[in-house]
Subunit: 149 residues, 2 copies
DNA sequence: TTAGATGCAAAGACTTTGCGCACTT
DNA sequence: AAGTGCGCAAAGTCTTTGCATCTAA
């Protein structure tokens, strides 16, 4: 298990440690990720970065996110059919996404421990705790659906 | 809970029951889905349908799949970043997808019962048993990774 | 007859890639 | 100085939509 990297300096060190170069774009992406607790789509990260560095292009963001994933700085998850979301790997958790309203709940990875053990035992399959995304219906939409019928 | 519709006739009845029209394209999609145990991407369904009915267009397939989902004839799941896969709702199960090799295991929905109860109790979130897709590493890729390091 | 379904083509959303220049080391 | 990383633009993939035509009921 690699140590989480949740500060800008730790992220930049990780880049240097992998013989990568520290650029303005990478530093800004790191700052945006650290400053944001919520998970972000590549598009949201691009916008946030461009607020400070207007000339950074979306393709660069994708390339940086790809590098950060290799370095285990960030993880991504696919919620529903929409764009992937990224967040720091230090914030390990699963996602619950409401199919009705799109609400996403972030929940501790511990919820998946039992399932994880079961899948390992039954199928030799190792669940990725960074990448769990469960679809369903949130409490509010359940209530709404009940009141409609 | 709706009864599963796993034969072509049952599917066509469901369409008529919802005031939809039974067309050649819909019938062929139904036949392809019934004939295939594996889940299929929209593209694979299109190819299979076009083997018999060459003039059916991809957009029609998407529209039919959308209708079938509303009628609870099929469900879809998003595995990794690739295209969505569709299968008959009668075959209720979760998906385990290996991030390394892309292998997909289909497992009984019962595996998610405990997690489902926990999420309902803790967050009021109702897990969609038709749509569970878990990422991780399959047994073979785990072994391979171990032998490499 | 007539409203829903389809084919075609274009658009749309998200992501990746090629190329030559710029910047980090 | 050397080579990684970048911006730009184009291409690629998957999916949706507009519109005129066709067809099931």
């Amino acid at each position: 298990m690699t140590a989480p990297r949740n500060t800008v300096d730790e992220i930049l060190s990780a880049i240097r440690g992998a013989a990568g170069r520290v650029t303005v774009a990478k530093r800004t992406v790191a700052e945006v990720l650290v400053a944001t607790s919520r998970h972000l789509t590549a598009d949201e990260i691009t916008s946030a970065v461009q607020e400070r560095q207007p000339d950074v292009s979306p393709s660069t963001i994708y390339r940086i996110l790809e590098e950060f994933e290799k370095l285990e700085i960030v993880v991504h998850a696919h919620l529903g059919q929409a764009a992937a979301v990224y967040h720091l790997s230090g914030a390990v958790h699963g996602h619950l996404t409401c199919e009705q309203c799109g609400l996403t709940l972030e929940i501790p990875a511990a919820h998946f421990d039992a399932l994880s053990k079961e899948l390992q035992r039954s199928y030799g399959f190792m669940l990725d705790r960074h990448h769990v995304a469960i679809s369903g219906t949130c409490a509010r939409c359940q209530a709404q659906r009940r009141s409609e019928s």
